[in-house]
């Protein structure tokens, strides 16, 4: 692949995840609002709701999976760095290329497949019933699939960068 194109694609992945992260961080306000609503209707009006429980789990689930991608965008997933920080750029890249190539890509690839098939089966089930609102299972599964895909994408971008560092000794 020619260089400017690769740099452009990597840049697009970064900015997509940055943008999605900024937008999805607002879910936190939604989460607070939903919980406040529940607290007020239960403790003040003595009218507990049933929809709130599922909806805030869904919002929280979305925050979590979208947070994975956002944290990866900012390279903040936890590492034990006593040795790692002392390594050269190339050696760091080597460790990351091996880890991502052997463990992350196959494993999370498998997870995305599993997640996609559960979305599909939830969707088929929903279509077969021909009625009612969208079931929560379908929504959960879809959120997880979206989050996993963004996370995967960001990891692949990092993998490409590390690979480039490994070969050329510098960032693409």
């Amino acid at each position: 692949m020619n260089k400017p194109l690769m740099r452009k694609i990597l840049h697009i992945i970064d900015s997509v995840n940055e943008r999605i992260g900024s937008i999805s961080s607002w879910l936190l306000l939604a989460l607070i609002a939903v919980i406040l609503y529940e607290v007020i209707s239960r403790y003040i009006f003595n009218r507990p709701t049933t929809w709130v429980f599922n909806s805030f789990r869904m919002i929280d689930g979305a925050l979590i999976v979208l947070g994975w991608a956002y944290a990866q965008r900012h390279n903040s997933h936890i590492r034990v760095d006593i040795i790692y920080t002392r390594l050269s750029l190339r050696k760091k890249a080597l460790i990351d290329v091996i880890g991502t190539g052997i463990f992350f890509i196959p494993l999370f690839g498998a997870f995305i497949r599993l997640s996609a098939s559960s979305v599909w089966s939830a969707y088929v089930l929903y279509m077969a019933r021909h009625q009612g609102s969208i079931p929560t299972a379908l929504m959960y599964q879809t959120i997880i699939l979206i989050g996993l895909s963004l996370f995967f994408l960001q990891f692949v971008a990092q993998f490409t960068r590390d690979f480039h560092i490994l070969l050329k000794g510098r960032l693409p």
């Binding site: 607070i32 944290a71 034990v80 040795i83 494993l107």
Partner: protein
């Protein structure tokens, strides 16, 4: 499939994790990677279903809702100027005392850092707010840095703390009970720190000078106003969050939601609210939630594999075979945790050590809540112990270079506080009720 005894598998599993994380690759992925390899070996390709199911069940666990909410509350309170304001007020109130600023630092750590779950966040917040004013007023750098490291590390123990939320999930102990189990130990440690600073600066006045007279000449009414305006509101948020849980009025996540809303309100009332602060706090929350939950989900998945091939029973029999009875086993576990704590984050330790060892606690005759909290108190010490001490690194990293704080200053400064944590550990071993009494009084 070849038959290998679960003991060998279990030890191999833990060693693989240990050496895997030492490479510096993402801890979460090392955990789940080791789980995959051992799982493929033990059960074949259906391991992917197990891992996926256990990881995604963590994402949808309703208790986890408390993590973004408490994180947000902590970021809002510490990154608005509320922390500075509180520090200033404490300084005016305690300025008459020798070591008043160091005392204020520990108090600030106790109150505000409570919501910040990560050692890095609370220590760096305290460094930014308090180190400059202590050093400029002639405090010894050792005392200043010691107070910052100790106060900031304490922040992750004192509830509401996301460490305790993760701990509760991992150890299958009620999160509310853990909050109140940690309450008295947190304040005992805080009290020990305050007592030490007061005594030390009384004996050696030159290391912690009294505030200059002109700074102290504040009328009594002004002091009382400051107390009510600056200190009571953040304290009230923390206490009301805890109080509603204690009296069984609200669940942990409901209390967290109300606390998060109150933290926005308080910045508005103090006129410190800005959209940039809110956006910053929300993005920071997303980032912290992301990395905390990736490792939590991956660890939960991998523990499933460990349990499947009989790893828990194997470790149990190995630990029970240690000499000197249950206290021998306890000492060994504490030592291992202490060493791991020097270079690993609390998240990794809790998710690996506690999830594997907590089922053994009842067999050893220990209460699981007490056992889990002893490990947390122990971690306080290991985060401050050189050569690999997270608090020390963070304090040095976030200190203003102009202040000229060196590694040696910080290390000398934290040593007395490490000894105080040991005193605390001794107290909690001798009087387990310091941990267990308050949770027993909870309603609901």
């Amino acid at each position: 499939m070849i038959e290998i005894s679960p003991e060998i598998l279990a030890v191999g599993f833990l060693l693989a994790i240990f050496f895997g994380v030492l490479t510096g690759y993402h801890v979460a992925l090392v955990l789940i990677g080791v789980g995959t390899v051992f799982g493929l070996f033990a059960m074949g390709p259906k391991v992917f279903y197990l891992l996926y199911f256990r990881a995604s069940s963590m994402i949808l666990n309703y208790n986890m809702v408390a993590i973004p909410l408490f994180t947000f509350m902590g970021v809002m309170l510490s990154r608005s100027d509320i922390a500075d304001r509180l520090y200033h007020a404490l300084h005016l109130l305690l300025g008459r005392l020798r070591g008043g600023l160091a005392l204020s630092t520990v108090i600030l750590g106790t109150i505000i850092a409570a919501g910040l779950g990560v050692v890095q966040a609370s220590v760096s917040m305290l460094t930014v707010v308090s180190l400059g004013s202590m050093v400029r007023r002639g405090y010894s750098k050792e005392l200043a840095c010691g107070a910052i490291c100790a106060g900031g590390t304490l922040g992750i123990l004192i509830p509401p703390s996301i460490m305790l939320v993760v701990l509760g999930m991992t150890a299958a102990v009620s999160i509310g009970r853990l909050f109140f189990g940690a309450f008295i130990p947190g304040f005992v440690l805080s009290g020990l720190y305050l007592g030490y600073i007061a005594v030390r600066s009384w004996i050696q006045p030159q290391i912690a000078p009294v505030a200059p007279v002109e700074e102290r000449q504040v009328p009594f009414t002004r002091k009382m106003t400051l107390l009510f305006v600056s200190i009571i509101p953040p304290l009230a948020i923390m206490l009301s969050v805890l109080g509603t849980i204690f009296f069984g009025v609200a669940t942990v996540y409901e209390a967290a939601g109300v606390g998060a809303a109150a933290s926005i309100l308080i910045t508005v009332v103090y006129r410190k609210f800005s959209w940039n602060l809110l956006k910053y706090a929300m993005r920071e929350t997303l980032r912290v939630t992301g990395f905390v939950m990736l490792i939590t989900a991956c660890a939960n998945a991998t523990v499933g594999v460990f349990v499947y091939f009989g790893g828990s029973e194997a470790i149990e029999s190995l630990v029970l075979a240690l000499p000197f009875g249950s206290w021998g086993a306890f000492a060994a576990i504490m030592l291992v945790t202490f060493i791991l704590g020097m270079f690993m984050d609390w998240i990794s330790i809790i998710l690996i050590v506690i999830s594997i060892l907590i089922p053994i606690a009842p067999q050893l005759g220990f209460n699981p809540t007490w056992f889990a909290l002893m490990i947390c108190v122990n971690l306080q010490m290991s985060f401050m112990t050189p050569p690999l001490a997270q608090s020390i690194f963070v304090c040095q990293g976030s200190a203003d270079p102009e202040l000229g704080v060196t590694n040696v200053d910080i290390i000398k400064g934290v040593i007395p506080f490490i000894l105080l944590v040991m005193v605390g550990l001794g107290l909690f071993i001798a009087f387990p009720d310091l941990i267990l009494w308050l949770p027993g009084k909870m309603i609901g």
